[in-house]
């Protein structure tokens, strides 16, 4: 999963900065910042998001494996 680019950037009602980043799997996400982020800061946060997705996927696979194991036993 790779970053494609920044789609939109704005301040919400709480004056937090919201940046929508797109990825090469055609998905996107909104990232939150306290202050107006630079592109570099956005990409750094987007990479953290990707890492989180990878971690969650591995946790889900691990839980699925345990469920399969319990089902078999």
């Amino acid at each position: 999963m790779e970053i494609v680019g920044i789609v939109e950037k704005y301040q919400d009602m709480a004056m937090k900065w919201r940046v929508r980043v797109s990825f090469d799997d055609n998905s996107s996400t909104f990232l939150k910042f306290q202050t107006n982020p630079t592109d570099e800061e956005v990409f750094a946060e987007a990479n953290k998001y990707i890492s989180l997705l990878v971690l969650e996927k591995s946790e889900i696979e691990s839980i699925s494996a345990k469920v399969d194991e319990l089902s078999i036993s």
Partner: protein, 765 residues
Amino acid sequence: MAIYYIDYVNGLDANNGSSWALAWKTINGAVAATIGPGDVIRIAKSPAPTSLGITAQWTGVPATLPTSLPITSSTNAGPINVNCVGHGYVTGDIIYIQDHTVNLTANGTWTITYVGVDNFTLDGSTGIGVGGATGTCTKIPWLTVKLTSALTKTITRAEQVWTVANTSTVTLDTAQFKEGDASVKIVKAAPANSTLYAYFQIGGGAGVNFSAYQTVSFWIYNATAILAGQWNLCLCSDTAGAVVVDTIPITAIPCTTFWTALNIARTGGGNLGASIQSVALYSGATAGATTGIYLDNIVACTTSGLNLQSLISKNTLAQGSMSATGYANEGWYAIQSISEDGKCLRIDSSPTFAIANYRITANGAGYSGATETVTTYKRETIKTNLVATQTTVVQQIQDSGTPGNNIQYQGGYDTGTTTQNGETFYDGLNNAGYGLQFSSTNSYNTINYLNFYKYSSGLYFYTSSNNTVTTCTCAMSNDVGIYLYNSSYNNTFGTVVNINNNGSYGITFNPSTNNIFNNVYSINNNGRGLNVSGVVGGGSNSNIFYNLGHISNNNNYAVIFSSGSAENKFWGPGEFSNNTTACIGSNSGLNYFNNFTMSGTEFSGALPFANGRIYSTNHDGTLGNHYIFTDYGVIVSDSGADRHTASGICWKLSPTDTSRSINYPLELKVATIACVAGTLVTVKAWIKKSHATDIAAQLICRGRQIAGVDSDVIATKASDTSYEQLTITFTPTVAGVVDIIVIAYWVANAATQSVWVDDMTITQV
């Protein structure tokens, strides 16, 4: 109503509990045969806080945790000079060194003195060899409390192996330790009575004066149960452990494989020796075999002073966990270790954390609060009997009250004046067992001013309902602070604060429903803050939190929902910050937050195609700022330039994945209409898209919600990016209620587009 008394220090469970003189020892003594609904059980308080008489530097968890730096070398000198290229430290910084070889005494927690851009010295250290390029150093101020002067004196930190005596086996163990990077392990299969089995020279050839101290505090981990009289720790005047000056009898430890902090006076009382040259382990008068006694962080302490069993805090209050501003007063923290120079107190963490990794690069440990140097206090606890397993019940409620007549267990009583002017802090000492269990046969009980430290779980509810807990802290648990297990429901919690530094979760529901928490403040530094989970087929539902304060610095989520847990409601103000994974994790179910401020990643962990949702109204403490987090999409109230008019709420629907296609659209209920039979209903809404063809939007009344509307009534937004007023009409044949929805779904290219809905009108004619 009858009144009974519990005094852990002076009571006996065989007493009848009718007075302080005849008090029970434990809550277990208040048996059902004696007590009944409406009775009050007064519980003796633990000692009030006392000032350490000095200030200490407390440091809150930084927003970005420091990374570990490789050590290049260290000197065999006093103090040790560490070479660490570009360390960036300044004099006074607190660091932790681990995995450094040869110069083993460099491992541990230190205050440093800046020498150069690549070098610093470790205050109070003495080298034992030239260390090479091994190990790391990490700045860890939030994991420590730094005293302005030492209140204890280190005997040995057990970073070097002790000398074998009389065919014992002695090793340095780097897998089990509480301080530095190792503990010393002594094994003896068939010890003779009163015999030396290991010793370690201290003082470098000169006697060390411990005469200002009266007790020895140390960590012990035992692979074999220890009976009283089996082992003694001794301070000796010679270098080989032969001439015993001070005998410290190791107390009975029936449990095995748990670290336990002890603080023991020398046999005969009085001051420790004035010229000590070695510390030794002797068998006692009734020797017993051991497959492993591990010793660590051995320090000399004063009778009433700081020791490894003390709790420390900025808090001065004998009673009361709430401040005038409504937030929790400072919590109390257990001590994991005392540094070589006696000035750096490491804040204890769950053993789950401590052994494998001191978690120096992750949240879930340390102190959360204001960074400042202030007078610091200690508080001694009531030490309950050591138990052998994680699931052993230490104390248990014995009876049930009735509705309106709860049995009340009131902590914090002064046994002299019979006034409730303090609190009762129970201490499990070894992170095992349930501090207080409410079992399936016991409901309608009330507890207050009772606090539980260093158990497996502090409070454990096992299918117990209709209980009330007020003014309570559960901290430093190996597993969970407050555990609601197996359908514990209708319990009420008020002023539950400082649920900190628990290994797995601050509070967990597994599964338990319809419990109410009011004034829950500071759930910090845990594995996870709140865990709202369940079992396959049953989540934890309809729990309500009012005034949920800070949930910060947890090593995963602040709040996580799983197993379909739903309809849980959280009413702020509240704040989630600096939690490693995200503020909220949710795989399914609909859960609600109002008036919460969230920093960092707000939402994660959604189960694909479950359409679980987190509704966060007045998000980030801002009126009218509403967010709906779900899988593959987010819906927000938009006040920007894209709205149709500046009145009411404009909703922005943003699918974030191509999975939100026509088969799984991102849906928002925009109206619920009470329909009159036989009357035409007209619904209009202004809708806009950010892209003409990559995204689609529809205004819909689903069919079969009400008689007369048998199929979907749909208006579709045109393929352009202008605002368009969509209209749907229908005529129910009966009176009833229908929902109106707007859907947005991905059509082509990347899922980076949005749909806005604004200015609805509904008429019935």
